[in-house]
Symmetry: C2
Subunit: 424 residues, 2 copies
């Protein structure tokens, strides 16, 4: 670690407090980005195989220009009518089905999910929420109750039930069909619990690609029984598209279209502004009306003209540069490469578009988080930035900006193969 | 209302749903801003006497440049060490006393307050929170429970108690000293309630200038007894500086310094990035450590290099242009003007720096929200944008960008006098 990085880490501890995580044993002090590339202070270049926020590439000139131009023209809030936020919602609505056409703009995916769960509660008049037990939907007080990591202060919330997340290594229910039935049965039990304890059932929130669950790549149709249970119980379905949305999955623009479910509420965040803080919750008109009737919600920065300009620029770049198609092609190339890797620790190689995972286990077949950490640290040392995911952080996560090229995919595969080879 | 504005309002209803408020009977379709001036599509110019978010003036070139330059260079998140967010926290810490020197960066004041209440809960191990009954601290599920407007779905939260806000027209406790004692007594009762019902007492959250309460201009020292009650009960003090902070009060950079209290946690938002979504919660190291020990909080967009560059630029402009001093001078001029207005409906004219209010009552002395609405609509028609505040929205609110000049203050006063004169 160079002296300047060490100094930054000291200042972080002093100014940000303890337990503020960084990536890698030797954290990268990045100072510049362009496309899929990042540079540190010494001028060393890194291939970014991790950051989904810089969706259309770091510092995409069209997005930067949109932000700079609008910031120099006007930045107010939605209590003044302005066309840009309406153009944005119209554009998003045109990409959604199932009657979902109205939006509340926020600044973060956390805020969007915080609104979404209140939409479900307002529309049903019930409090109860169901999520999986290995997920992440955000960091507000209310939303973080859905994240299983630790019980919140004040004890676990009565109105929340977490069901076992689908898992590739330890499938509950055996076969794919058995897993789907088991998942639906857990939801039915959770609904019954919530009704018994007086909470009632408002809705199920999930990431349609189960990204935080370790990208459990399920067959389209997997959720049919689970959704049927939710519908019979009068609950709503919230699709958290913060990770799968905006074309990353290649074959579909949204995760819920990929897996074939019809949500009532859709939330989006991270990639939406290519790093500019913009996010939103979209819903059917009757659900929006129910929310608007109960909550006088206003978000000062949400949907401001600069955020709207940034998000519109991202959508235009995705279309103009064919990035959804690129995600399909480059994702397929990357997946083929992952599947051709040979190493005793590899339990599974999987992916949907440009979101991929390489699941690593020890000699006994147990998740090997230590090995995954060593692999990504080795990759970092050879100039490729990857991450980890899964219950034991044992799955190497590859989730690059959508503008990656064939040569860059091949470089990433080469470095990953090297890192694995060093671990024999 | 012109056809284009009508069309925008139709699109808003269709794309944003019902009950999305706009300002004024004839909403202003603003397309451009500079300093204290806003322009509509027809080229009509409006003096902005309302927007505190555009703190250093709409589209300040130094802030726009900082955003544009950093957005073109790098925009990542705080899991990579970067100097700008540390420079920002260091700068803010240098303006704070009482040992408050560590920060969590968020995107909105709501997120900052959502973090702050969890900091108080983590540090005390208790849940109970006290706020005033006519306040607003933000829009997340947890924070909106502090806003008295409507009881939340699921019923009022057990761990929240609201105490009567200080009020100028109907002072609880009579004299200023009586009011201070009454406020402290209400807090003592709320603490006892929270201890009785098992919540325990974590802290008191308040805006030190009681901005949302109608800018109840209190004597410095007013809160001494209330704070003593909080301390004796082992609770923490959260100063919500989203409105009073960043020099607006003229005589002090922060509201808590103006009124003379020593908070444990300080939150900031709106003006911090001049419209760019950046906010933060700052605390003493022991409180930050308690929070970080319990909550693995990470905010993807919070503290990103672009947000940090925007916030740093705002601080530099405040210093370089002497905007706190300007707030003191222009605020005094505006207050003198308000006090010289003669109209039977005026019950009070008050202000702290560049945050001022003109309280209007009917012939019977009751708050007259309808009159205040007519006055600001008349002002809008003559090119000056003001707002309303207070329990009955009966107080004309003047809270312009900090770069306002003498001539602009005088213009605002002239238009306000005209609007009042038309209401005799």
């Amino acid at each position: 670690m160079d002296l300047e990085t060490r100094d930054l880490l000291d200042r972080r501890r002093r100014l940000m407090g303890p337990n503020v995580s960084t990536f890698y044993d030797d954290p990268v002090h990045i100072v510049r980005g362009q496309g899929v590339w990042l540079w540190d202070r010494a001028g060393t270049r890194y291939l970014d195989m991790y950051n989904n926020v810089a969706h259309v590439g770091h510092c995409h000139p069209a997005v930067v220009q949109a932000i700079a131009t609008q910031a120099a023209t006007l930045n107010t809030h939605t209590r003044y009518p302005h066309g840009l936020v309406l153009d944005l919602i119209e554009n998003l609505a045109g990409r959604l089905s199932h009657g979902i056409g109205q939006a509340i703009l926020t600044c973060t995916g956390s805020e969007a999910n915080d609104v979404a769960i209140r939409m479900a509660q307002a529309a049903t008049g019930k409090m109860g929420l169901i999520a999986t037990d290995n997920t992440y939907h955000g960091n507000t007080s209310a939303v973080s109750q859905l994240n299983a990591r630790r019980p919140p202060i004040g004890g676990p919330a009565r109105h929340i039930r977490l069901v076992p997340a689908p898992d590739r290594l330890a499938p509950v229910g055996g076969s794919r069909e058995g897993q789907a039935l088991a998942f639906a049965a857990h939801i039915a039990r959770a609904v019954a619990d919530l009704e018994d304890n007086g909470s009632g059932f408002a809705g199920l929130i999930l990431c349609p690609a189960f990204c935080n669950e370790g990208l459990t790549v399920l067959d389209p149709g997997f959720l049919a029984q689970a959704i049927a249970v939710v519908r019979r119980a009068g609950g709503l379905v919230i699709a958290d598209e913060v990770q799968p949305g905006f074309g990353r999955l290649g074959s579909a623009f949204w995760g819920h279209d990929w897996i074939g479910i019809a949500p009532d509420i859709v939330t989006m965040g991270k990639p939406m502004g290519n790093g500019h803080p913009v996010a939103c919750a979209m819903a059917k008109p009757d659900i929006m009306a129910a929310f608007r009737d109960v909550f006088p919600y206003f978000n000062t920065f949400g949907g401001n003209p600069v955020s709207a300009a940034a998000a519109l620029a991202v959508l235009r770049v995705i279309d103009a540069e064919g990035l959804q198609e690129n995600a399909a092609r480059m994702g397929a190339r990357l997946l083929k490469g992952l599947r051709s890797l040979r190493h005793p620790a590899i339990a599974d190689a999987r992916g949907i578009g440009l979101f991929l995972g390489l699941e690593l286990v020890d000699a006994g077949g147990a998740p090997d988080g230590a090995l995954a950490a060593r692999v990504v640290n080795r990759m970092r040392a050879t100039g490729v930035l990857a991450g980890v995911m899964g219950r034991a952080n044992h799955i190497v996560k590859l989730r690059p900006p959508m503008v990656i090229s064939e040569a860059e995919v091949d470089l990433a595969l080469d470095r990953l193969a090297q890192a694995l080879a060093a671990e024999r």
